[in-house]
Subunit: 384 residues, 4 copies
């Protein structure tokens, strides 16, 4: 830790905070609740009858907002959860027996059970990356040889997460390079934007600028981690510059959404939440708080001996590398109910995730937890 | 209509009501919003961090409530929507290439696109029924001959809806007969309880007594039509008297729920809503209002010449049969945005559905709409 | 039976034949072996190495034959078995969650377990028919209402079997009417030609004339029942007059065939067999023998009291209706290992199928078996 | 090459052979035909009618043979092709959304399009290996953490190929170690025995000893590469020592085979071929010829400068590494129609596969082709 005295600590006294009952932590941005304005949005549309399944004024309003942000041909489809959003998006982009190139750390590859396989019938061509981000060079290694058709599964989609599952962020140029790569090989570009708001806030650009404006064909637009009660969306960009084979992808999507078990009957309640976070830039405000918490943890960690950041902290995720036993102890302290560790031989990676409601004292507390498992303890660290 | 003077009309003057802007109608119980107490429940659990994916106190509380209602071995899994609930439930009961016996009017067969087929890999063995309800005799016609294995798809599940899609209600004895039939043929009994509350209210029994207590193995527990913002549930009953092959069905269900794209990350918000409608019998209060509206429409229709009820009104659904052209006109009046008609040759069936928020004046208005398309008009009807 | 004396019996003395060990029967045309010329074809291409998976001269030769028969744009894909042929064909015509209209007696609906559902993700919209044959009027009853999208499964294919599973045959005019109906509703026409040779022989036309030339888009070309060791084929017709949406269906089929587990590695052996039955009209010769046997049984049955033909005998299948108990006895006699009965209340339908190798004495024997279970016995019948 | 004069060449004069039209090569063991005794077996059972779908004496005879070889509880199911065999076997071992650990070079992972995913709904957890063979240590890296259920796809099967796709062979001890590893982690062991005969011949043991006797639960028994016209089989071992969860896997397999589009109607023709290669050890005789050809190529290559064996030659596959351009030239010479190259940066791996019908002169010719693309030519090599 930077200094020995509490006053110099940027978040005040960790001692005090550490004794509090932890109401908020960094186990996951799914552990947070919803922003009050989002809940108010639910309340505000909760009167009378409207058309079900999206035939309601709130969904119309969302359509308008999305076209304003993502372009006149963009179409948004509210969805129920993140996995369903990704799987349904991919089903619109590729047929069974085709393949998707993605990082081996992709949520799609690791955290969606075998739904891409069992529901969409797709093979994931995973590839190691240094930082959770694909590049054209890395993706190129999973291209197939036309001579191997029909034996090989043919890649039809490149899928990237913005921000990535390792907390890194693609620059617009990097997205564009991947889009050009994908399109030039007859593939489409999918962006898993479960944390798109965090990426856009980190880049200090709008939601579209963080990917859709730079060649993404289909976007999984995250909202739940950003502060909603539930609900996500698929956005088909259909950008003017897109190749022909990237057009019309939304044509059957009403059926695919229903068939992917993702159609909300009282859709006004999802649409209202999406409107709430899109309008007036609430999404950015919430994402920035999550990002700042992660940054603060990252900055604190940089001062501590015996631990290091496994990845640069660019959005709201921090990966801390320390000895495996200490990592376990730290994880037990800050997330007693669910281990946060990825063991890598003797090293344990601990993942911490900032939420839209993270507070200064929460950062303080987790840093204190970290210090407490290190041999020097907090006092030692202050003199280190 | 029964009488010519407004005063005798049980809901007051239809003339006045007919000129109102229709805020509530009978197009579907999905068109209604959520009960205020349900929204309050969302607000009341919206503080601090809790475990995601169901590791939260509200889901624990729901577990307790469900065991109290459905038996000590019952297990509830909150889900995202109705189709997902049914499909995931069936996936727990049957393997791909097996079959499900259900009425040809089943929601499963008609209103869930080909999700039972494409996601669960099941064949639906549909069968005509007079009233939307299976009986052992009717279901028996779809049994297969063991000599036809492996060519035929083998039925593993009998699926019934309580209340049925035609608005009729199974008595507990009828459910028991179907359970005995299913079990004696090595099949399981699934109940689509999208409107279970309406059925239980109609039967004047508890939710379990409306099916689960009488041999149902797996229940799709509806909540959304009953007055929630979103969320349904699968309940595995695992009743003491169930046959061996009906036990342990929930064992893999955590994976099937995730893999069926139905796992909510901030599950506390579904659980809190389910708790809200289960606790204190709110479910019954809301279902009764919906049922009463349907009953009132049904009673009014019984007085009107030239129209008739196509099914007895037992829950919250009314099927009105009238000439096809008049049916179209009536549908256009009371649901301008989405036709409510099922054409049957020269006859049009119009489906009206009572909601938890239906009011006397809504009934009045729809009856007035109906009268207005009939040749006699309202005045004539009064003298009819 | 027509007459009491053996000399008048069109096939000689049944008494003698009945005492023979039954080497050939009418349980199914799958019970027969392969025509010697087909086996010779396997032998004749069994030398040296050729390209696997279809890159061989025999497959090229088959291509040429098929284009000559089915038109210059027709493409044939050899397949491994009948169910795989139908399923892969349908996968080329419709996406998961779409639907197929077919008779409720279709092989697809009854005898392919739930493979259309589990592998292709399709819903079968089955419909009763008097004779196993669809008409536009009958198929029309399963069309969906666009207002019901996305809830309903949308029919994309009409599938008919030529000859039908009830042994009846579509005339070219009837096929054309169904093709026009399908196309005018945005659907494709699939023909399950497991017994196409029998139908074409019955119609006294070529294979193409029995369907493909009259609007069929994709044909399952049967060969195994017609006398091969194994092997069937999918033929994409791509006829000049077909609508735009019926073109290019074969484009991804190499992948679908592989992914449908139907790609033969040593494909020359299938191609050679198909060439053998196509060249010189062997297919017709074999089909005619099967048809004649069925016709002969049908003619004999027409003379017998207490039994009747349930369907006209148009191809190589005979359905005999008699009392259920007698039907069971008859089935036990002529197919001891596998019942041939379809029970219909008090009546049992017995299905008999002529094969390419059926002989006069086989017909004699089965007729004798039938007579022996009837109360009058053979003598009585002769005087009947 | 060892010597400059033809007399010292172990297979005679390459010059002469090189000018021959290549009737047999090493592009794949799928390019070969069928052994005459196998074709005779087809002919010998081609008389009269027998039960279809396996109810025939030849299939009974196969059952007996398989029980004699693989144990009294072993059950064999004849199948149509290799991909279908693997996919159906896996479907019997794991449910959709589960996972299979296999080498990244597995046929399953590379050469079966996305059928494991699209048909079986399984995720493949691939892992790099030095030699195409899993070890418990390597497989261990893909185990999942129970804390990650239900998010992660849970491995239920370890799948290995005997011989491996890189031409290496598992010893019985290595198979046993993998079986123990799999079983101790609640997983089953699948063996893709597309080249089981080659492996058993190389190990100089029986077919069962090459895997099934050492803990394999389900075996894909290859026959086609071993010299049949078509046909493979799934064998469920059900060994006395197997864990409880490895028992009864065959129970539903009749349905899975049909549903996996792999049921042969005239099954006697597959069974007869399998009997032909199993009886009298024809399988071993044929496999040894293929292995010897590979060994001979390998021995020749060992003498040549500028090329090397990328893997030890243990069965019938040889991987030759040489400069990429030369590799292309070599591939064009010995397999003009289909490249045999796997590019690895500047190096090209050329795969050659011995067949049951490979002859000395074929080896000679391919070695001559190799020499002809090397700078030194044949003469230089002799002095190298």
């Amino acid at each position: 830790m930077a200094t020995g005295d509490g006053s110099a600590h940027p978040f005040g006294s960790a001692n005090t905070v550490a004794s509090m009952t932890a109401a908020r932590g960094f186990a996951s941005d799914n552990c947070s609740g919803a922003h009050p304005r989002v809940v108010e949005a639910i309340t505000s549309v909760n009167h009378g009858h409207v058309g079900s399944y999206g035939a309601d004024p709130e969904t119309d309003r969302l359509d308008d907002l999305v076209r304003a942000e993502f372009g006149p041909d963009a179409r948004i489809f509210p969805m129920l959860n993140g996995t369903g959003t990704n799987i349904a998006a991919l089903r619109a982009m590729a047929r069974p027996h085709q393949a998707v190139i993605c990082p081996e750390t992709a949520h799609l590859a690791i955290d969606e059970t075998a739904a891409p396989e069992a529901i969409a019938g797709l093979k994931l061509l995973t590839v190691p990356t240094p930082d959770g981000k694909l590049t054209p060079e890395i993706a190129h290694t999973r291209l197939a040889d036309p001579d191997d058709i029909p034996h090989v599964a043919w890649p039809k989609v490149v899928s990237i997460a913005q921000a990535s599952e390792l907390g890194t962020v693609y620059t617009p140029q990097q997205v564009r390079a991947l889009a050009d790569f994908a399109h030039s090989h007859g593939m489409l570009l999918h962006m898993d934007g479960a944390r798109l708001a965090n990426a856009a806030a980190a880049l200090d650009v709008g939601l579209a600028e963080a990917g859709a404006a730079h060649g993404v064909d289909v976007l999984s637009l995250g909202a739940n981690k950003n502060g909603t009660v539930f609900g996500e969306a698929v956005v088909f960009i259909d950008a003017p510059g897109a190749p022909d084979f990237a057009r019309g992808l939304a044509d059957d999507f009403e059926v695919l959404r229903k068939g992917s078990l993702q159609l909300s009957s009282k859709m006004r309640f999802i649409s209202a939440q999406l409107v709430a976070i899109l309008e007036g830039g609430l999404w950015r405000e919430l994402a920035l708080k999550a990002n700042r918490a992660a940054a603060a943890i990252g900055e604190a960690v940089a001062w501590i001996d015996g631990v290091e950041l496994a990845q640069p902290v660019e959005a709201n995720i921090v990966f801390i590398a320390l000895g495996l036993e200490k990592a376990r102890a730290f994880s037990d302290l800050c997330a007693p109910h669910r281990p946060l560790i990825f063991p890598l031989g003797d090293v344990g990676l601990v993942r911490l995730v900032g939420s839209w409601d993270s507070q200064v004292e929460d950062v303080d507390r987790v840093v204190a937890d970290l210090l407490s498992v290190l041999p020097q303890g907090r006092g030692t660290a202050s003199s280190g």
